[in-house]
């Protein structure tokens, strides 16, 4: 399709609104175009530096794969940038290399993002090979087998990393059967069952033009934009593909107190938290801000007490992390085995205090000031702005919240924040997950914290 026809099909051009930060207007740099087949093209030119960045985003991540095919989206994502319908893997990689680029894929709970970057002088080279790799891939059995083997090794090696293991144990405990409890790479058992045809089906589902957003940032020639538009308008809707229907997050009925033991650790990792609201909840901003006072900065209540005053940990932090279906309130820190009890009791006391008495007016004002003061940095680069926009979209929002967030924070009252804290920081449901060496934890600590052994 020629460019004139393509452009005629653009039905919507939208420049997002600007926002107010620290008394200054910050203008959105993103320009949106929706093509007739539903593909959204987001562009942001940056005349200051000679780079060209391409992203292709879809609202499908690892959370909604079928249970028995966990890890499928990651296998698919890593298959991109290998063979295409007309080129071998070596030819694709050589072309990417000429542009000094490689295609990277980031598979998250509710979204997958493919991206690549080159110097602007290579923008045409990059866009040609990027879209060929993404729109005309060829999934070869050998490539799929290689990727599965590599992912299997990576999954096993995650057990070597205490932070990954602790985080996985915590998510698994709280999200249970929901896809948010999984790892992007899947599970060794399910990984082996993934076939080339699974990858092909997942690809067709993900690449549905109605769901795709393409982002161009930096500097490029008119020819690049023309060619990209031509490729995108030709995309046809794919056949539907059902996903795992489990969308409900069932909260733990009562607090879990779990110890995952790993021999030889010099320090334990402690998580405290409970399942919580999705990003789209009306309570999100108030809860996020209230929890920031508890664990979001150096002067937060947890850091002040457990690090600064008592020297128990190098750092303790946390807050609210919300997705499409729900979120987590989490606080975590690393601590010596003989100090686990002091750390947990100290943290719980602070959380209980915040949940019952709320935070103080001065604390809320400091939190508002920090959020407002630092917010311009979130939009400082075009990539950051685009990524935040895409992230909000994956969480069921429109994206314009990016520009109204500060107003919402500024409007918050102490009563609003404390009401939400009382309601959502429900202490009887706050679970404890500890990763540590059981031989180094005293019986007294195990009993005092009601910790029971749990194996992943």
């Amino acid at each position: 399709m020629k460019i004139i026809q393509s452009v005629a099909y653009i039905v919507l051009v939208l420049v997002l609104t600007s926002c107010q930060t620290s008394g200054e207007k910050i203008k959105s740099s993103l320009r949106m175009q929706t093509l007739p087949n539903g593909v959204e093209l987001i562009t942001s030119e940056d005349p200051t530096l000679p780079y060209f960045k391409l992203m292709l985003w879809t609202p499908y991540g690892y959370a909604y794969e079928y249970q028995e095919k966990q890890g499928l989206t990651s296998v698919l994502a890593q298959s991109i940038g290998r063979a295409t319908e007309s080129k071998s893997k070596e030819a694709v990689q050589a072309l990417l290399s000429q542009a000094g680029a490689s295609i990277s894929a980031n598979v998250l709970e509710d979204q997958t993002l493919f991206s690549a970057e080159s110097l602007s002088k290579d923008s045409l080279k990059l866009s040609n090979i990027f879209f060929e790799a993404l729109l005309k891939p060829k999934f070869l059995p050998k490539d799929i087998r290689d990727i599965k083997n590599k992912n299997l090794s990576a999954l096993k090696s995650m057990e070597d990393d205490p932070s990954s293991l602790a985080s996985y144990a915590y998510l698994k405990s709280l999200f249970k059967d929901h896809g948010y409890s999984r790892r992007a790479l899947g599970d060794p058992k399910t990984l082996s069952s993934i076939t080339v045809s699974d990858v092909q089906s997942r690809y067709e589902h993900i690449m549905n033009p109605k769901n795709i957003k393409v982002v161009m940032i930096g500097q490029w020639s008119p020819q690049v934009e023309t060619e990209i538009l031509t490729k995108l308008v030709d995309l046809e809707p794919s056949i539907g593909f059902s996903e795992d229907p489990i969308r409900e997050i069932v909260p733990t009925g009562e607090a879990l107190n779990r110890l995952v033991s790993k021999r030889g650790l010099k320090q334990a990792i402690v998580y405290l938290g409970l399942t919580s609201i999705p990003r789209s909840s009306a309570e999100y901003v108030a809860l996020k801000t209230g929890l920031f006072v508890i664990g979001g900065s150096f002067k937060s209540r947890l850091n002040q007490k457990l690090r600064i005053e008592e020297g128990l940990t190098y750092g303790v932090s946390g807050g609210l992390d919300s997705h499409l279906d729900g979120g987590l309130i989490s606080f975590s820190g690393s601590v010596r085995h003989d100090k686990i009890q002091a750390f947990v009791e100290g943290a719980k006391k602070i959380l209980t205090d915040a949940a019952t008495k709320g935070i103080r007016s001065g604390e809320l004002e400091r939190a508002k000031s920090m959020i407002s003061g630092q917010y311009p940095k979130a939009l400082e680069t075009r990539e950051k702005e685009a990524l935040l926009y895409l992230d909000l979209t994956s969480k069921g929002l429109k994206g314009k919240e990016l520009y109204s967030y500060l107003d919402e924070v500024k409007k918050l009252t102490l009563t609003q924040v404390n009401d939400v804290l009382r309601k959502r920081l429900y202490m009887p449901r706050v679970s404890l997950v500890v990763l540590g060496d059981q031989n180094k934890i005293s019986e007294k600590t195990l009993r005092a914290l009601s910790l029971s052994n749990w194996s992943l």
């Binding site: 050589a94 000429q98 650790l265 010099k266 020297g311 407002s372 680069t381």
Partner: protein
């Protein structure tokens, strides 16, 4: 490529743009106060914020080998308060103004920084000047912070197999170089560090003559200069007697091939390999950046393609040129797939490196590597804090911030022949050191 080198190259990019794309170079004003403190100012009104970096030219290399970790421990103590602003007040003021702050310690320098909304500069300068000279240290605050630093060591080194191996490769590689001990220090030394030692350290190194203040962002220059003079000029300075720099490579590096084994319960064994390399100030170091990129950056890179894609023996491999102010190390870090043989991998690594050396890199590989280096630097140039850090790095490590503008030319000027000459000489197996981590 390390952050320092990235910063170095980043700024060079700026000059490249100036010359070829008609983009303005950073407009920096540099001056010195009478007490010796260096000041760099660059206005950038893109955000209603500013980034202030205050770096001291003191790192772990300035420590006594019998009392390591002092520079990093001291970085923590700089937040312990003064008589005017007791403990907690510094963070309180910064956060109330809507800012954030942090600090970092390297082998060559210690950096403190804040990211603040505009209109708050006067108070921030007052706070920074106050803690440069009036820190109020007590035994109690040191003892509490000692436990925090020990927790940091457990987190980043003792609980972390890569951290352990990284620490070991330095002690194995260097002989007399002060880079041989870890920045965070040993547990034994952390337990021993006394109030008296910290006071001596503070008096010696926290002086205007040893400090560089960099301000990038939204501020009024005249006013900023007035306030800087008001708060920093009265501070007295003193002469710093530094350890003599060892230049003889035979004294700096341990000779001979050596291997160390760290026993850890790991599913995927780790291997660190090192070779004596160069200071960031030497041209060979730039060649090594290009070589590192060609070896392991991207799926087409030589070692990645061979070990991860073709032989399927590794999960990942990174070639890394550690190039600090003095002589550095060229390292290869590999994570084996569970079940892969360490012995076979190490044999194949030498075999593959020999093949690469024999064949040499070609022009396409070098061009691709240079592009990747450029791209890896751009994110820093896009932000106020990235620019502030780049300028501070140029001034403190290279001795002149404007030096960073020259580095792109150095990369550009490197010929195929020069790069292959460095490639041929770097992998001297007689001086290769290896650290293996496995059960």
């Amino acid at each position: 490529m390390g952050i320092l080198k990235k910063l170095f190259v980043l700024s060079s990019l700026i000059s490249f743009h100036c010359a070829f794309a008609n983009i303005k170079a950073l407009d920096v004003e540099r001056y010195k106060l009478k007490n010796g403190m260096t000041v760099l100012l660059h206005q950038d009104e893109k955000l209603p914020m500013y980034s202030l970096h205050l770096w001291y030219k003191v790192g772990s290399k300035d420590e006594d080998p019998k009392l390591t970790g002092l520079a990093h421990f001291f970085e923590h103590l700089m937040f312990k308060g003064t008589k005017k602003y007791p403990e907690g007040r510094y963070d309180e003021v910064i956060e109330r103004f809507g800012g954030v702050n942090n600090a970092f310690t390297t082998r060559d320098y210690t950096g403190y920084f804040v990211e603040m909304p505009k209109g708050t500069l006067k108070k921030v300068l007052e706070l920074e000047a106050d803690r440069m000279k009036n820190l109020d240290l007590s035994q109690e605050s040191i003892d509490t912070e000692r436990e925090v630093v020990k927790e940091e060591r457990r987190l980043s080194v003792e609980n972390n197999p890569s951290g352990l191996a990284y620490e070991k490769i330095f002690s194995l590689s260097y002989k007399q170089s002060p880079y041989r001990w870890p920045i965070i220090g040993s547990m034994e030394h952390l337990n021993r560090a006394s109030l008296e030692e910290f006071k001596k350290f503070y008096d010696k190194y926290y002086n205007p003559t040893n400090a560089t203040l960099v301000l990038v962002g939204s501020f009024r220059k005249k006013q900023a200069k007035r306030w800087i003079a008001k708060y920093f000029s009265p501070l007295k300075t003193r002469f710093i007697k530094r350890r003599l720099r060892i230049k003889d490579r035979q004294k700096l590096f341990k000779e001979g091939s050596e291997k160390a084994h760290i026993k850890k319960e790991l599913k995927a064994p780790l291997v660190f390999t090192s070779f004596p390399a160069f200071s960031v100030k030497k041209k060979e170091s730039f060649a090594l950046d290009v070589i590192a990129s060609a070896l392991s950056e991207g799926k087409e890179s030589l070692l990645y393609k061979y070990f991860v894609e073709q032989r399927e023996s590794l999960i990942g491999i990174t070639a890394y040129n550690y190039s600090p102010e003095d002589e550095g190390l060229f390292m290869i870090y590999s994570r084996l797939r569970p079940g892969s043989s360490l012995k076979v991998y190490e044999k194949n690594l030498k075999k593959k490196l020999n093949q690469i050396i024999k064949k040499g890199l070609n022009q396409k590989q070098i061009d691709s590597a240079k592009k990747k280096i450029m791209l890896s630097l751009l994110p820093l140039y896009k932000t106020q804090s990235g620019k502030a850090r780049a300028l501070a790095y140029g001034q403190v490590v290279l001795g002149d911030y404007s030096q960073v503008f020259e580095s792109f030319k150095v990369y550009e000027s490197l010929s195929l022949k020069e790069i292959n000459k460095v490639l041929k000489n770097i992998f001297n197996y007689q001086n290769m050191k290896t650290v293996e981590v496995y059960p």
